[in-house]
Symmetry: C2
Subunit: 158 residues, 2 copies
DNA sequence: GCTTGACCTCAACTGAGGTTGAGGTGGGAT
DNA sequence: ATCCCACCTCAACCTCAGTTGAGGTCAAGC
Protein backbone atom coordinates (compact mmCIF):
# COMPACT_ATOMS: atom_id res chain seq x y z
CA UNK A 1 0.00 0.00 0.00
CA UNK A 2 1.76 3.09 -1.23
CA UNK A 3 1.29 6.14 0.90
CA UNK A 4 0.50 9.16 -1.15
CA UNK A 5 2.08 11.47 1.36
CA UNK A 6 5.72 11.98 0.57
CA UNK A 7 7.99 9.65 2.52
CA UNK A 8 9.89 12.69 3.73
CA UNK A 9 13.57 12.42 2.83
CA UNK A 10 13.57 8.80 1.85
CA UNK A 11 13.23 8.83 -1.91
CA UNK A 12 14.12 6.05 -4.31
CA UNK A 13 16.34 6.64 -7.30
CA UNK A 14 13.41 6.23 -9.65
CA UNK A 15 11.58 8.95 -7.84
CA UNK A 16 14.52 11.33 -7.95
CA UNK A 17 15.08 10.55 -11.59
CA UNK A 18 11.46 11.29 -12.45
CA UNK A 19 11.37 14.48 -10.38
CA UNK A 20 14.63 15.84 -11.69
CA UNK A 21 14.65 14.59 -15.26
CA UNK A 22 18.12 13.22 -14.69
CA UNK A 23 18.45 9.64 -15.90
CA UNK A 24 19.17 6.85 -13.45
CA UNK A 25 22.43 6.02 -15.14
CA UNK A 26 23.48 9.65 -14.80
CA UNK A 27 22.59 9.56 -11.10
CA UNK A 28 24.82 6.50 -10.68
CA UNK A 29 27.52 8.31 -12.58
CA UNK A 30 27.27 11.49 -10.49
CA UNK A 31 27.49 9.42 -7.36
CA UNK A 32 30.59 7.61 -8.63
CA UNK A 33 32.10 10.98 -9.37
CA UNK A 34 31.27 12.32 -5.94
CA UNK A 35 28.77 14.96 -6.96
CA UNK A 36 25.84 13.53 -5.04
CA UNK A 37 25.38 11.17 -2.12
CA UNK A 38 22.77 8.98 -0.52
CA UNK A 39 22.11 6.37 2.13
CA UNK A 40 21.09 2.78 1.51
CA UNK A 41 18.11 0.92 2.86
CA UNK A 42 18.19 -2.64 4.14
CA UNK A 43 17.91 -4.01 0.62
CA UNK A 44 20.92 -1.92 -0.49
CA UNK A 45 18.76 0.42 -2.49
CA UNK A 46 19.64 4.10 -2.65
CA UNK A 47 17.61 6.46 -0.46
CA UNK A 48 17.90 10.16 -1.12
CA UNK A 49 17.12 13.17 1.01
CA UNK A 50 15.50 16.08 -0.68
CA UNK A 51 18.50 18.34 -0.95
CA UNK A 52 19.83 16.08 -3.68
CA UNK A 53 17.26 17.81 -5.89
CA UNK A 54 18.95 21.11 -5.20
CA UNK A 55 22.31 19.64 -6.06
CA UNK A 56 20.96 18.20 -9.28
CA UNK A 57 19.42 21.51 -10.16
CA UNK A 58 22.74 23.17 -9.59
CA UNK A 59 24.57 20.55 -11.66
CA UNK A 60 22.19 20.85 -14.59
CA UNK A 61 22.16 24.62 -14.49
CA UNK A 62 25.95 24.71 -14.35
CA UNK A 63 26.23 22.32 -17.24
CA UNK A 64 24.04 24.52 -19.36
CA UNK A 65 26.48 27.30 -18.68
CA UNK A 66 29.21 25.03 -20.00
CA UNK A 67 31.02 24.21 -16.78
CA UNK A 68 32.65 20.76 -16.77
CA UNK A 69 31.62 18.29 -14.11
CA UNK A 70 35.01 18.41 -12.43
CA UNK A 71 34.59 22.12 -11.73
CA UNK A 72 31.01 21.61 -10.63
CA UNK A 73 32.24 19.04 -8.16
CA UNK A 74 34.80 21.46 -6.78
CA UNK A 75 32.10 24.04 -6.31
CA UNK A 76 29.79 21.58 -4.61
CA UNK A 77 32.62 20.49 -2.34
CA UNK A 78 32.48 23.93 -0.80
CA UNK A 79 28.98 23.40 0.46
CA UNK A 80 28.77 22.73 4.19
CA UNK A 81 28.82 19.00 4.68
CA UNK A 82 27.13 18.72 8.01
CA UNK A 83 24.23 21.05 7.68
CA UNK A 84 21.69 21.46 4.93
CA UNK A 85 23.00 24.19 2.62
CA UNK A 86 21.22 27.48 3.00
CA UNK A 87 20.25 30.07 0.49
CA UNK A 88 23.43 32.04 0.92
CA UNK A 89 25.51 28.92 0.28
CA UNK A 90 23.86 28.43 -3.10
CA UNK A 91 24.11 32.13 -3.75
CA UNK A 92 27.88 32.02 -3.36
CA UNK A 93 28.10 29.22 -5.90
CA UNK A 94 25.88 31.08 -8.31
CA UNK A 95 28.17 34.05 -7.96
CA UNK A 96 31.14 31.97 -9.14
CA UNK A 97 29.38 31.02 -12.32
CA UNK A 98 28.27 34.57 -12.92
CA UNK A 99 31.90 35.59 -13.27
CA UNK A 100 32.53 32.76 -15.72
CA UNK A 101 29.46 33.75 -17.66
CA UNK A 102 30.45 37.39 -17.78
CA UNK A 103 33.81 36.41 -19.21
CA UNK A 104 32.29 34.06 -21.72
CA UNK A 105 29.76 36.61 -22.91
CA UNK A 106 32.43 39.21 -23.26
CA UNK A 107 34.61 36.75 -25.14
CA UNK A 108 31.86 35.82 -27.58
CA UNK A 109 31.05 39.46 -28.19
CA UNK A 110 34.67 40.12 -29.02
CA UNK A 111 34.65 37.15 -31.38
CA UNK A 112 31.50 38.41 -33.02
CA UNK A 113 33.05 41.78 -33.62
CA UNK A 114 36.22 40.20 -34.98
CA UNK A 115 34.03 38.10 -37.21
CA UNK A 116 32.46 41.14 -38.87
CA UNK A 117 35.57 43.23 -39.19
CA UNK A 118 37.99 40.40 -39.78
CA UNK A 119 36.22 37.95 -42.04
CA UNK A 120 34.19 40.78 -43.46
CA UNK A 121 37.27 42.67 -44.54
CA UNK A 122 38.88 39.51 -45.82
CA UNK A 123 41.89 39.57 -43.49
CA UNK A 124 41.19 36.10 -42.16
CA UNK A 125 44.76 34.98 -41.82
CA UNK A 126 47.15 33.78 -39.20
CA UNK A 127 49.48 35.97 -37.20
CA UNK A 128 47.58 39.17 -37.75
CA UNK A 129 44.16 37.94 -36.78
CA UNK A 130 42.91 38.24 -33.22
CA UNK A 131 40.19 35.74 -33.87
CA UNK A 132 42.48 33.00 -35.02
CA UNK A 133 45.35 33.83 -32.72
CA UNK A 134 43.83 35.11 -29.51
CA UNK A 135 47.16 35.71 -27.79
CA UNK A 136 47.45 32.30 -26.15
CA UNK A 137 50.12 29.80 -27.04
CA UNK A 138 47.92 27.66 -29.26
CA UNK A 139 46.32 24.76 -27.52
CA UNK A 140 48.83 23.04 -25.26
CA UNK A 141 46.46 20.99 -23.21
CA UNK A 142 47.30 17.42 -24.12
CA UNK A 143 45.10 14.96 -25.91
CA UNK A 144 41.36 14.52 -25.98
CA UNK A 145 38.48 16.65 -27.05
CA UNK A 146 38.91 20.38 -26.60
CA UNK A 147 36.85 22.32 -24.11
CA UNK A 148 34.43 24.55 -25.88
CA UNK A 149 34.29 27.30 -23.33
CA UNK A 150 37.72 28.82 -23.29
CA UNK A 151 36.92 30.80 -20.18
CA UNK A 152 36.16 27.75 -18.08
CA UNK A 153 37.98 27.54 -14.80
CA UNK A 154 41.02 25.23 -14.86
CA UNK A 155 40.25 25.76 -11.21
CA UNK A 156 42.52 28.71 -10.76
CA UNK A 157 45.38 26.95 -9.04
CA UNK A 158 47.22 30.13 -8.34
CA UNK B 1 70.12 23.36 -51.09
CA UNK B 2 66.97 24.83 -49.70
CA UNK B 3 65.60 27.80 -51.52
CA UNK B 4 64.72 30.59 -49.21
CA UNK B 5 62.13 31.95 -51.57
CA UNK B 6 58.80 30.37 -50.90
CA UNK B 7 58.14 27.44 -53.20
CA UNK B 8 54.86 29.07 -54.21
CA UNK B 9 51.94 26.73 -53.53
CA UNK B 10 53.98 23.66 -52.85
CA UNK B 11 54.28 23.53 -49.10
CA UNK B 12 55.12 20.52 -46.97
CA UNK B 13 52.98 19.50 -44.04
CA UNK B 14 55.67 20.58 -41.60
CA UNK B 15 55.63 24.02 -43.12
CA UNK B 16 51.87 24.33 -42.94
CA UNK B 17 51.87 23.06 -39.38
CA UNK B 18 54.46 25.61 -38.33
CA UNK B 19 52.72 28.48 -40.14
CA UNK B 20 49.27 27.65 -38.84
CA UNK B 21 50.03 26.29 -35.39
CA UNK B 22 47.89 23.27 -36.22
CA UNK B 23 49.64 20.03 -35.33
CA UNK B 24 50.58 17.55 -38.02
CA UNK B 25 48.36 14.91 -36.51
CA UNK B 26 45.46 17.35 -36.60
CA UNK B 27 46.19 18.10 -40.25
CA UNK B 28 46.07 14.38 -41.02
CA UNK B 29 42.84 14.20 -39.09
CA UNK B 30 41.23 17.14 -40.89
CA UNK B 31 42.18 15.58 -44.20
CA UNK B 32 40.64 12.26 -43.19
CA UNK B 33 37.49 14.14 -42.24
CA UNK B 34 37.39 15.99 -45.54
CA UNK B 35 38.00 19.49 -44.19
CA UNK B 36 41.23 20.10 -46.10
CA UNK B 37 42.87 18.66 -49.19
CA UNK B 38 46.26 18.45 -50.86
CA UNK B 39 48.22 16.91 -53.67
CA UNK B 40 51.08 14.47 -53.30
CA UNK B 41 54.59 14.72 -54.70
CA UNK B 42 56.48 11.84 -56.30
CA UNK B 43 57.53 10.52 -52.91
CA UNK B 44 53.89 10.48 -51.70
CA UNK B 45 54.41 13.45 -49.42
CA UNK B 46 51.62 15.98 -49.00
CA UNK B 47 51.95 19.25 -50.90
CA UNK B 48 49.64 22.09 -49.96
CA UNK B 49 48.58 25.19 -51.82
CA UNK B 50 48.32 28.35 -49.83
CA UNK B 51 44.56 28.51 -49.50
CA UNK B 52 44.75 25.67 -47.02
CA UNK B 53 45.93 28.32 -44.57
CA UNK B 54 42.67 30.18 -45.08
CA UNK B 55 40.73 27.01 -44.47
CA UNK B 56 42.68 26.28 -41.32
CA UNK B 57 42.13 29.81 -40.11
CA UNK B 58 38.43 29.38 -40.67
CA UNK B 59 38.41 26.01 -38.91
CA UNK B 60 40.25 27.32 -35.87
CA UNK B 61 38.18 30.46 -35.65
CA UNK B 62 34.98 28.45 -35.91
CA UNK B 63 36.13 26.06 -33.24
CA UNK B 64 36.77 28.90 -30.86
CA UNK B 65 33.19 29.92 -31.40
CA UNK B 66 32.17 26.42 -30.42
CA UNK B 67 31.08 25.03 -33.77
CA UNK B 68 31.62 21.28 -34.11
CA UNK B 69 33.83 20.04 -36.93
CA UNK B 70 30.92 18.41 -38.72
CA UNK B 71 29.20 21.77 -39.11
CA UNK B 72 32.45 23.42 -40.10
CA UNK B 73 32.83 20.83 -42.81
CA UNK B 74 29.34 21.51 -44.08
CA UNK B 75 30.13 25.18 -44.25
CA UNK B 76 33.40 24.58 -46.05
CA UNK B 77 31.65 22.30 -48.50
CA UNK B 78 29.82 25.35 -49.77
CA UNK B 79 33.02 26.94 -50.93
CA UNK B 80 33.53 26.82 -54.69
CA UNK B 81 35.56 23.75 -55.47
CA UNK B 82 37.09 24.73 -58.75
CA UNK B 83 38.19 28.25 -58.11
CA UNK B 84 40.10 29.79 -55.25
CA UNK B 85 37.51 31.10 -52.79
CA UNK B 86 37.14 34.86 -52.84
CA UNK B 87 36.52 37.32 -50.09
CA UNK B 88 32.77 37.19 -50.50
CA UNK B 89 32.81 33.41 -50.20
CA UNK B 90 34.47 33.65 -46.81
CA UNK B 91 32.21 36.50 -45.89
CA UNK B 92 29.15 34.34 -46.42
CA UNK B 93 30.55 31.69 -44.11
CA UNK B 94 31.37 34.26 -41.48
CA UNK B 95 27.80 35.47 -41.68
CA UNK B 96 26.53 31.98 -40.79
CA UNK B 97 28.56 31.93 -37.61
CA UNK B 98 27.48 35.43 -36.69
CA UNK B 99 23.92 34.19 -36.38
CA UNK B 100 25.03 31.29 -34.20
CA UNK B 101 27.05 33.66 -32.07
CA UNK B 102 24.19 36.10 -31.68
CA UNK B 103 21.98 33.29 -30.43
CA UNK B 104 24.61 31.99 -28.09
CA UNK B 105 25.31 35.40 -26.61
CA UNK B 106 21.64 36.02 -26.12
CA UNK B 107 21.28 32.63 -24.51
CA UNK B 108 24.12 33.18 -22.08
CA UNK B 109 22.78 36.58 -21.13
CA UNK B 110 19.44 35.04 -20.35
CA UNK B 111 21.18 32.39 -18.25
CA UNK B 112 23.13 35.05 -16.42
CA UNK B 113 19.96 36.91 -15.58
CA UNK B 114 18.30 33.72 -14.42
CA UNK B 115 21.34 33.04 -12.32
CA UNK B 116 21.00 36.29 -10.40
CA UNK B 117 17.27 36.28 -9.99
CA UNK B 118 16.87 32.55 -9.65
CA UNK B 119 19.76 31.37 -7.54
CA UNK B 120 19.89 34.75 -5.88
CA UNK B 121 16.32 34.49 -4.74
CA UNK B 122 16.78 30.89 -3.72
CA UNK B 123 14.22 29.42 -6.10
CA UNK B 124 16.72 27.04 -7.64
CA UNK B 125 14.41 24.13 -8.12
CA UNK B 126 13.03 21.97 -10.88
CA UNK B 127 9.79 22.60 -12.69
CA UNK B 128 9.57 26.26 -11.84
CA UNK B 129 13.05 27.25 -12.90
CA UNK B 130 13.78 28.48 -16.41
CA UNK B 131 17.47 27.91 -15.93
CA UNK B 132 17.14 24.27 -15.01
CA UNK B 133 14.22 23.52 -17.27
CA UNK B 134 14.67 25.63 -20.35
CA UNK B 135 11.57 24.34 -22.07
CA UNK B 136 13.20 21.55 -24.04
CA UNK B 137 12.47 17.92 -23.46
CA UNK B 138 15.59 17.24 -21.44
CA UNK B 139 18.50 15.88 -23.40
CA UNK B 140 17.35 13.34 -25.95
CA UNK B 141 20.40 13.18 -28.09
CA UNK B 142 21.76 9.70 -27.50
CA UNK B 143 24.99 8.76 -25.74
CA UNK B 144 28.32 10.48 -25.65
CA UNK B 145 29.50 13.78 -24.29
CA UNK B 146 27.01 16.63 -24.50
CA UNK B 147 27.56 19.58 -26.76
CA UNK B 148 28.39 22.63 -24.75
CA UNK B 149 26.88 25.18 -27.03
CA UNK B 150 23.19 24.48 -26.98
CA UNK B 151 22.63 26.88 -29.85
CA UNK B 152 24.90 25.05 -32.25
CA UNK B 153 23.37 24.28 -35.60
CA UNK B 154 22.12 20.71 -35.99
CA UNK B 155 22.46 22.10 -39.43
CA UNK B 156 18.93 23.24 -39.78
CA UNK B 157 17.60 20.35 -41.79
CA UNK B 158 14.26 21.97 -42.25
C1' DG C 1 4.93 -20.29 -6.61
C1' DC C 2 5.78 -17.42 -10.26
C1' DT C 3 6.10 -13.33 -12.76
C1' DT C 4 6.94 -8.48 -13.00
C1' DG C 5 9.22 -4.34 -12.02
C1' DA C 6 12.44 -1.66 -9.66
C1' DC C 7 16.67 -1.81 -8.11
C1' DC C 8 21.82 -3.46 -7.69
C1' DT C 9 26.98 -3.96 -9.74
C1' DC C 10 30.50 -4.00 -13.06
C1' DA C 11 32.37 -3.74 -17.58
C1' DA C 12 32.23 -2.18 -22.13
C1' DC C 13 30.71 1.11 -25.45
C1' DT C 14 29.59 5.89 -27.53
C1' DG C 15 31.26 10.36 -30.19
C1' DA C 16 34.17 14.34 -30.75
C1' DG C 17 38.57 15.77 -31.60
C1' DG C 18 42.29 14.58 -31.83
C1' DT C 19 47.44 12.21 -29.94
C1' DT C 20 50.79 8.50 -29.66
C1' DG C 21 53.39 4.82 -31.26
C1' DA C 22 55.12 1.20 -34.31
C1' DG C 23 57.13 0.22 -38.44
C1' DG C 24 58.55 1.85 -42.99
C1' DT C 25 60.18 5.25 -46.97
C1' DG C 26 62.68 9.47 -49.27
C1' DG C 27 66.16 12.45 -49.71
C1' DG C 28 69.97 15.67 -48.40
C1' DA C 29 74.41 16.29 -45.92
C1' DT C 30 78.71 14.17 -44.16
C1' DA D 1 77.82 4.42 -47.39
C1' DT D 2 75.64 6.04 -43.73
C1' DC D 3 73.15 9.04 -40.85
C1' DC D 4 69.30 11.53 -39.73
C1' DC D 5 65.22 13.93 -40.33
C1' DA D 6 60.93 14.63 -42.30
C1' DC D 7 57.52 12.28 -43.95
C1' DC D 8 54.20 8.11 -44.68
C1' DT D 9 50.27 4.65 -42.86
C1' DC D 10 47.57 2.29 -39.64
C1' DA D 11 45.94 1.08 -35.27
C1' DA D 12 45.36 2.02 -30.55
C1' DC D 13 44.64 5.21 -27.01
C1' DC D 14 42.94 9.58 -24.53
C1' DT D 15 39.12 12.68 -22.20
C1' DC D 16 34.29 13.71 -20.98
C1' DA D 17 29.76 12.67 -19.78
C1' DG D 18 27.39 9.57 -19.64
C1' DT D 19 24.59 4.94 -21.85
C1' DT D 20 23.97 0.03 -22.54
C1' DG D 21 23.95 -4.60 -21.34
C1' DA D 22 24.73 -8.79 -18.70
C1' DG D 23 23.76 -11.03 -14.70
C1' DG D 24 21.81 -10.87 -9.99
C1' DT D 25 18.61 -9.39 -5.86
C1' DC D 26 14.28 -8.02 -3.62
C1' DA D 27 9.38 -7.10 -2.87
C1' DA D 28 4.64 -6.87 -4.40
C1' DG D 29 0.79 -8.84 -6.83
C1' DC D 30 -1.80 -12.66 -8.94
Amino acid sequence: MKKNQEPADDWSIGHISARSGVSISALHFYEREGLIFCERNLGNQRRYTRDVLRRLAFIRASQRVGIPLASIKEALDELPLKRTPREEDWGRLGQRWKVVLDNQIEYLQRVRDDLSTCIGCGCLSFQRCQLVNPDDKMSEEGPGARRLLPGTPRPDRS
